[in-house]
């Protein structure tokens, strides 16, 4: 009798556990969620696939072949060559401009956000609440709304149509500051700072040698955000810049696209598409390389240890 009662209990054991307990190690399978995620995956990858496929077509092929499959010709390399040399190689110039704006703009914005966030998180000073309110308020104001007033101000200062008119506004990242602030508050134990001071380290040294490594995941996160924002920045340069020699890639590609819509203009959709592919490559590479720092940064501070 006893043996018969024991055996079924053993066999139902795992089945019961499977039905009842869902831990992070044993997630429940949901067909609905799988389908939804699948749809989202296709939705986000399809444009990319379209872009890659169509970058291999000539202008004539683009209009005569099916959009999601390859055409008669494989013109990827000649397209890339043409993109880089069309109109005296202006694309290369735009690429360099974008790099300049990203290095100085996003780099500067990150540096300022790190310094500011650290200061706000770890030091007490009068008016801190005011700064907090300002930063939170600034996050809510879209950059687009400020573009025209900024243009008029910069115009008075004679800065429009220069790279500075794009770089200086990019330096300000309220969201980055806020992120670094909360990150620094969690990631740097105040005791550690006290210990460093006790050991005789100056403020600068404490920051550079002790805090910076701790802040690394947060810095990468902010850097990625500001990089993407600057890389994709469109409206601000559109308003500020008139000289195609200073255009970033976004404006340049748009100018190429607009060319098809004018009398006497040459339609170069194949170059626009190839240019778009070349434009996203650096961002994809940056994401792949910085991914692990970024992921660890996202979760920091979420669990009290």
């Amino acid at each position: 009798m006893t043996t018969t009662t024991v055996t079924p209990r053993r066999s139902t054991g795992p089945r019961l556990r499977r039905a009842r307990g869902f831990s992070a190690d044993r997630p429940r399978r949901s067909p609905l969620l799988t389908v939804l995620t699948g749809i989202v995956l296709v939705y986000s990858l399809l444009p990319l696939a379209w872009l890659l496929v169509n970058a291999t077509k000539t202008q004539a092929d683009l209009f005569s072949s099916f959009g999601l499959w390859f055409g008669d010709s494989f013109a990827l390399f000649s397209n890339i060559g043409q993109t880089l040399t069309y109109d005296d190689g202006i694309f290369v110039r735009w690429f360099a401009n974008t790099l300049l704006y990203v290095v100085l703009g996003a780099g500067g914005a990150t540096a300022l956000a790190v310094l500011g966030g650290y200061g706000l998180a770890k030091f007490d000073f009068p008016g801190k609440k005011g700064v907090f309110a300002t930063v939170i308020g600034a996050v809510a104001v879209p950059g687009t709304a400020l573009a025209v007033p900024t243009f008029l101000m910069f115009s008075q200062m004679g800065l429009t149509n220069t790279p500075w008119s794009v770089i200086i506004p990019s330096l300000i990242s309220p969201f980055g500051l806020y992120l670094m602030w909360t990150f620094a508050a969690e990631a740097i134990p105040t005791e550690l700072l006290e210990a460093a001071r006790m050991d005789g380290a100056g403020e600068a040294r404490t920051f550079a040698q002790i805090c910076l490594p701790l802040l690394a995941p947060g810095i990468v996160t902010v850097l990625l955000f500001t990089m993407v924002a600057t890389w994709n920045n469109y409206f601000l340069p559109l308003i500020m810049l008139k000289d195609p020699d200073w255009y970033p890639l976004t404006l340049g590609l748009n100018a190429w696209n607009a060319q098809a819509a004018t009398a006497g203009g040459e339609a170069i959709f194949n170059l626009v598409i190839t240019g778009a592919v070349l434009t996203i490559v650096p961002l994809v590479v940056a994401f792949l390389f910085l991914q692990r720092y970024w992921q660890s940064g996202l979760a920091a501070g979420s669990v009290k240890e």
Binding site: F63, S155, N161, K242, Q259, G265, F269
Partner: protein, 440 residues
Amino acid sequence: MTRSTRTTLRRTALRGAAVAGALALTLTACSGGGTADPEAAAEEGGELTVWAWDPTVEPIAEAYMEAHDGVTIEVVNAGTGNDQYTALQNAIAAGSGVPDLAQIEYYALPQFAIGESLADVSELGAAELDGTFTPGPWSAVQQGEGIYGLPLDSGPMALFYNATVFEEHGIEVPETWDAYVEAARALHEADPSIYITNDTGDAGFTTSMIWQAGGQPYTVDGTDVTIDFTDEGSTAFAETWQQLVEEELVAPISSWSDEWYQGLGDGSIATLTIGAWMPGNFESGVPDAAGDWRVAPMPQWTEGASDTAENGGSAMSVTEASENKALAYDFLEFASAGDGVQIRLDGGGFPATVADLESEEFLSQESEYFGGQKINEVLAQSAADVVEGWQYLPFQVYANSIFNDTVGQAYVSGTTITDGLADWQDASITYGNDQGFTVD
């Protein structure tokens, strides 16, 4: 023949310019910025900034610089059409970074002229150019007594049609708009994938069609403006086009989109009634359709008539903010009435100058793309047949920007084009009055 006509023309023009320039010298001496005699200014040299999106402006500037040692011209593509107008407005409002010259489409020119953003170049020699340009573009650059630019190109309309498609289905190329509607039905019935044309509501096309029908919805006298879309011409267009929209005979594709180029290439868009500058776009945009397309005169409202209208086209204007208007004008004249015209023609542009439109060389040119047809004969005839007296609003850029909220609704919902035109009229009147015009 052509070359000599052009040089004589230019010489007279220059002589006139010198006289007028001397006169202008006394008038504008206080404005500073060196001499007011264009020719002297050109010899003296200087720097100019030109905002233009047209690809032929760059080679014209190069040719000018080659002929004038001390002159440096920077050609900047500050965007096309509306983008550039916004940039220009911004620069004018900010008071800095305004170019010396800007390319401006005819429909937008009154807006800048009345805003006193453009210089009146009649005293600088433009007054002497009367008769140099075809009437449509020439009247388009004039506002009241002033001349606010010189025509770069023009867009007399013609019917571009895919001959292969028409032949395949044995349908005649329509000569009247009624026949056009019939052809639309026949084509779509023969092959449901074929549409007579594409249209999703286009302000420029609509106004051009009303223009050809003899309508004159806009009358402008200084700041007194009348807007009336109930006249015969407007009604004729609205009623005819309504049939096409209602029966879904026009492809719901916006012009200049990649879908549009695709439709022009694969024959699903069978005709375009559009400006004479279109051949260049055909050649570069849909090279695969070479040989399929032909050009015919624009369909007529009454049988046997030969009325046409302008569609698009742009002028170049000297800005009021320019510090060297004399030099700017000298370049402008070079570009639009001098040697620049030939450079534009070589670049595939369509001229606005009478001498070129009438030249044997131009008319007898056979277009390979259009199956060897002498398309310029049709296009030049159209330039001569443009209905006179058309006026655009002094705030046409704004009016066009709200076209799709009003008339455009007829293409996507149950409202009619007539209702849409009435809405457009009301919205334009309200805006005009808000801007300080007297509109009714």
